[in-house]
Each structure stands twice: as structure tokens, then as C-alpha cells.
């Protein structure tokens, strides 16, 4: 039983500090976890061989070859994400080969097979999710597993013949509790290795290792940080009541982080990614709590009479915007976390909820029914001025400001079913992104490239991710029950 719990905690793929809480939550001390062989270490990224990093000059050449771009001779990135249309590179994903000796027994063979499946599944998932590649299923024509190895030249030749300009391959070694994986990404046109890495992690954690590699590959190709090691918070009712869960960005490896048997709502990240702010009825009425993911310490931060909901950390982490109903109506307040002093922001008869900070901390987008039905407004914190942003739609809700400050995502309904929309912070540029099911609670990836949201059909809600233009829709596998109110973490690496 203990071993099983540890595996599930390790599957969350957290760093050492973050893991501690889960062991504590499960009643296992980190020491005990170590004793049963859990490796509480960050993955070590070590350069495999001397040819791992291609020189910048070669990247530039490859850029011309792959994208046929002649516009920017100084471009550092392999793939220019700011281009109007990002051309997908044809990619072949090779088989991950086992580099160790023949398994001694069927148990060992099964363990190897399971790790291989996890690695392969995570790798193809990450590469597809990146939306950088056109993935070609071409294992057969590149490598014949039965016939020893082939030369790199031959491999590049076969890949190109099969239509793949790039190729990723790897191998792994399982040694007791230690998993070693080598991964290489090739430019088959230039005949060069772009990235080669060898990693070692605990064997319980293959997915995290792949996400780590995917981050590095993404950055190598685009010059931008990858989101593959980021996390999601969400609410699930899988235990019969709504508790908060923490998962990988792809919804996998979900770990329950509240266990109070009450109703828990709208989790949010602290800007440093170390704390979780959430609303809970565990004291009997909706109050706000902060859970420290490193220490497991859970503190009530706002438990005023009435409702305490919709808390959001300011970008500097020093304040919370929140909704209180201590007066006659639910209105917006600022809470200074150092002094504990509240400052009232709105004073309407109606409702003001769901504040979203601008990345510079100067403004709050929020929802108010002061116009008769729910619309999105903007409050300038310095002047106290409010401006109405939406005029259409029967019900506009849950604004989410993209981390780059350029776009606000929100949910809108005309007839009862909600869809995700985006607009500029001045209310212009309205764009509908979803058209099917009932879609709510958008949250941005830290690179502002993706939006995660909950989508409900026949009473069951799942999490979906799409690119910020509405394409690339992917359903996440978060496990049983309804998953709602996702919150995407900041960069954690």
C-alpha cells in the first residue's frame, strides 16, 4: 500500500520540495520515502556526448532549409512562433530502445515494458502538444529493430525518403530504482543532431523526465521556454465532494492536495508557484486559504462573515484581490498579506467577483452585474476608475488576463451554454474560440500560447487545452469524475 502511494506521488513529477507535502499528506515522511527507494532528487540533466549542442551557425542554416525563410538572417530560433503561420516540421518519432541486458525474468520484462510505454506516451504527447510538428508514423522505414543498428547517414536518408525532415530517437536503461534515458533530436536535412541529452531520475518518474526534455527541445527550437514541466490545479469531485488536485500540464499524474471532505473551489497559484490559494467551506462557510506546497501548511487568509471567494494573488504576491460580502453585497476588496488590512474597491448594490490582475498589477478585470446582467469591467487601481468592456452576451464571466498582457480570455453565454472568447484589454478584438459543449473557466499557460478550460457535456466536465487562437484542441486525461476550474501554473523551472 505504501509503495503504491509513493508511486502515485512520484507520478506527479514534482521537485524535491514540492514532493515533501505529498509524502506528508499521505502520512509518509520524506525519510521513509527514501527508505523504500524513492529517489527525492531533481532529474540531472547531463550532456550525453560531445556532439549534443549544435552551433548557432548551423541552427541558422537549418532554419533556412526547414522553413524556407529568407527574411531574417539574424534569427536565432529554429521555429519563429511570431510568424503569422507557424509551419509544422515533419517529424518521425523513433522507437525507444532498451539499452540494458536481457531481462532476467518476466517481472523485470514487464517493468521495462511499462516504463517504455510511459516514456513513449509522454514523448509523443508532448511533441504533438507543442504544435510544432507534423508527426509521421514512420518507425518501420527508419529502423528495423531486428537488424542491429544502422548508420546515421542511412537513418537520415530513410527519414527523408519517408517525408520526415526531423527525427527523434532514444534509449533507456532501468537499474533498480534508477531510470536513465538518452534522447536525441536530429535534423535529417542537414544531417545533424540538434539536441542530445542523457537524464537520470527515479524509476517511478518517467513522464517528468520526458517533460524536462521537451522543455529543452522546445527552447532549442523556438528560443522560448516550454510549458511541459508546468502544472495544473483543478477541482474534481471524484471522491464524492469537490477537492483540489495538482497534475502535470497534460492532466496526468493528478494528486489530491485538499482532503477536508467539504466543498473546495477555484484554486489559484501564487506567482512563485509555491502556494495554492483556494476557497473552501471547511469552516462552515466560504473562506479563503493558502496551502504551502513545500511545507503542507494550510492557513486561513480571509474568513470574514459572509462570503470570502474569488481570491487572486497580485503579480508581486503581496496582495490578494477577493470578493467579500461583509457589507450588504458581494464586492471586491484588496487584502494586504503583510498587514492583513482590507481595502474596499467596489461599492455597488450588485455583485462584483472574479478579479483578474493585469500582469503589471495596475488594473483588475472583473465581473459585475451592475449593468443588469453579468459583464466584464476594468478597474484602474490607481484612479479607481471603472470601464465596461463587454456589451454583448447574456452572461460574461471569469476573465483571465494572458501573462503577456495582450489578451483577456473569458466565458460568455447567450442561451445557457457557455463558450470561451478572447478580447483585447480595451474590449476590442472579440473572438469566439469554442463552439461545442459548455465551456468555462479559461486559464492561460505561462507563455500565453495556450488556454486550459473546463468543458462539460451530459453533466460531466473535462479539462481541455487549446492554442490561444482556438486551434489544437486537446482533451486532457485527468482521471475519474468531473474536472473543473483549472489554473495553469507559472513557469516552475
Amino acid at each position: 500500500m505504501r509503495a503504491a502511494l509513493i508511486v502515485s506521488a512520484s507520478a506527479a513529477g514534482l521537485g524535491y520540495e514540492h514532493k515533501t507535502i505529498f509524502f506528508l499528506a499521505l502520512g509518509i515522511s520524506p525519510d521513509a520515502a527514501r527508505r523504500v527507494g524513492f529517489n527525492l532528487k531533481r532529474p540531472r540533466a547531463s550532456v550525453g556526448t560531445g556532439d549534443c549542442h549544435m552551433k548557432t551557425g548551423a541552427i541558422i542554416i537549418a532554419l533556412f532549409v526547414l522553413l524556407g525563410s529568407f527574411s531574417d538572417a539574424m534569427a536565432k530560433e529554429y521555429i519563429d512562433l511570431s510568424a503569422p503561420t507557424v509551419k509544422r516540421i515533419p517529424l518521425a518519432i523513433g522507437d525507444l530502445t532498451y539499452m540494458g541486458a536481457q531481462p532476467r525474468d518476466t517481472k523485470e520484462a514487464a517493468a521495462i515494458s511499462e516504463v517504455k510505454n510511459e516514456l513513449s506516451n509522454a514523448l509523443s504527447g508532448d511533441l504533438a502538444f507543442s504544435n510544432l510538428f507534423n508527426i509521421i508514423d514512420s518507425r518501420a522505414f527508419i529502423e528495423d529493430p531486428s537488424a542491429g543498428g544502422i548508420s546515421e547517414t542511412e537513418m537520415f536518408k530513410r527519414a527523408r525518403a519517408g517525408g520526415a525532415d526531423t527525427y527523434v530517437k532514444g534509449g533507456f536503461l532501468l537499474d533498480r530504482e534508477k531510470l536513465t534515458v538518452e534522447l536525441r533530436f536530429f535534423d535529417c536535412v542537414e544531417g545533424k543532431q540538434i539536441l542530445g541529452k542523457r537524464y537520470t531520475v527515479s524509476s517511478g518518474n518517467p513522464r517528468r523526465l520526458i517533460h524536462y526534455f521537451s522543455d529543452q527541445l522546445y527552447e532549442e527550437l523556438t528560443g522560448k521556454k516550454g510549458v511541459f514541466t508546468t502544472k495544473l490545479l483543478f477541482v474534481s469531485n471524484r471522491t464524492g465532494n469537490k477537492e483540489i488536485y495538482l497534475s502535470d500540464y497534460d492532466g496526468r499524474g493528478a494528486v489530491q492536495i485538499t482532503r477536508n471532505g467539504s466543498i473546495n473551489l477555484s484554486p489559484q497559484w501564487s506567482p512563485d508557484g509555491k502556494k495554492v490559494l483556494y476557497a473552501s467551506y471547511k469552516k462552515g462557510w466560504p473562506c479563503l486559504f493558502i496551502l504551502d506546497l513545500r511545507t503542507g501548511r494550510d492557513t486561513a487568509v480571509s474568513d470574514k462573515k459572509g462570503i470570502n471567494i474569488g481570491g487572486r494573488f497580485s503579480p508581486d504576491g503581496g496582495r490578494l484581490a477577493l470578493t467579500l460580502s461583509t457589507k450588504k453585497s458581494p464586492g471586491l476588496f484588496l487584502l494586504d498579506l503583510n498587514t492583513g488590512v482590507y481595502r474596499q474597491l467596489t461599492d455597488n448594490y450588485g455583485i462584483a467577483v472574479s478579479p483578474a490582475w493585469s500582469p503589471d498589477g495596475q488594473r483588475l478585470a472583473y465581473v459585475s452585474d451592475s449593468a443588469g446582467n453579468p459583464h466584464i469591467f476594468m478597474l484602474d487601481l490607481a484612479t479607481g476608475e471603472t470601464k465596461r468592456l463587454t456589451y454583448d452576451g447574456r452572461y460574461n464571466s471569469s476573465p483571465a488576463w494572458s501573462p503577456d498582457g495582450k489578451t483577456i480570455a473569458f466565458s460568455r453565454s447567450d442561451n445557457g451554454l457557455f463558450n470561451i472568447w478572447t478580447m483585447k484589454p480595451d474590449g476590442s478584438g472579440l473572438t469566439q474560440l469554442t463552439f461545442e459543449r459548455d465551456n468555462r473557466s479559461p486559464s492561460w499557460s505561462p507563455d500565453s500560447r495556450y488556454i486550459v478550460f473546463s468543458s462539460e457535456s451530459h453533466g460531466v466536465a473535462s479539462l481541455y487545452i487549446m492554442l490561444s487562437d482556438g486551434t489544437g484542441l486537446t482533451k486532457l486525461d485527468t482521471g475519474r469524475g468531473s474536472s473543473t476550474s483549472p489554473a495553469w501554473s507559472p513557469f516552475l523551472q
Partner: protein, 197 residues
Amino acid sequence: MKRIIVLFLPIALSLMLAVGCANKLLKENVTSQTATPAEKKSETVPEEGPVGESVTQRNLSGSEVKERGKYASVPGDEGLTRKAEKEGSLYAVHFDFDKYNIRDQDRSVLAEDASWLRKNSVVKVRIEGYCDERGEAEYNVALGDKRARSVKKYLEDLGVDGSRLTTISYGFENPVDKGHGEAAWARNRRAEFKILK
């Protein structure tokens, strides 16, 4: 929690009956617990009936209690609260989508509720605001809060002491109808009462 109480009550009842002096014990109990000046005139414990009734007595005053409010003060037991509703004590009211004003057809219901509350003058009541499943969790918690407060204000205007009324919002949690159509939504957009003591 509810389950514990439901399980506990019959057990407690049978234990008391078993010792054969339930009424006497309860009566003493009641007297000793009603020391506050406002509750001096504690009621005689009825001969028979659910154990909830006996517990009730220490919290109620006035001769009309037996008529309409005899189950009123059972802490947190939904079954008995429902029974109290059924017997004409406290009725839930409903709301239009995204609205928190009291509808015309619910004014007579709240007048009844107010009348019962004035008679059972020591009963404390929690008004719970609920919404249908549409929209965002946070907005609905705020909306449920407004609904509960509307009812509280309305009862206060009808002469009920506001200090006896607390409010809570559950947003779209705990629907009475788990369906997904307009009929279910209409039932779920409500403010209902839980008798605290």
C-alpha cells in the same frame, strides 16, 4: 455529519426508552439547560414522539410552539427540518435565472415564514442561497449570497429580528434536482431554511 446524526438519534432514543424514565430525565435536562432569563418558561416534554421534540423544547417559548414549531430546533437534521416545512413552518422560495429579487408569488410564502418565525421567537434560522448549474462557481456563490440576503431583508421588513437570521451561499452546489433542463434549474434556484436551534 448528517448521517451521524440520523444514526445517532434512534440509538439515543432507544437507550433512553430502555432505562424507562426518558421523560423524567429529559424534563430535568431541559430545565437545567434553560437558565437564561428569556427561556424560563420551558415547555413540558411531550409524552411521546420523536426524541427531536424533547430537544426542541429548551429553545422555544410561547404556548403556540406546540402547534407549528415543535420540530423546529433540532440541530441540522434535514429530515426533521423538512417535516417542519411540511407542517407549515418554513417554506423555500425560488428565483428567476440570474436574479435575486423576491418574486411576487413568493411574497405570501415569506409572510407565512415570517409569521412562524415571530411565533417561534427563540429559533435561529440559517437562510441558504442556491443557484442552478449554469455559469461560473464564483459568480454563483455571490448570486446565492444575494438571494439569501434578499430573503433575510424581506423577513426583517416583516418584523423578524435579524439577529436570529444568518445567511450562507452554496452557489450551484447541492442541487435538489440533479437534472439539466429548465425544470431542474428552476427548482435549484432557491433560498431554503435550516433551523439551527
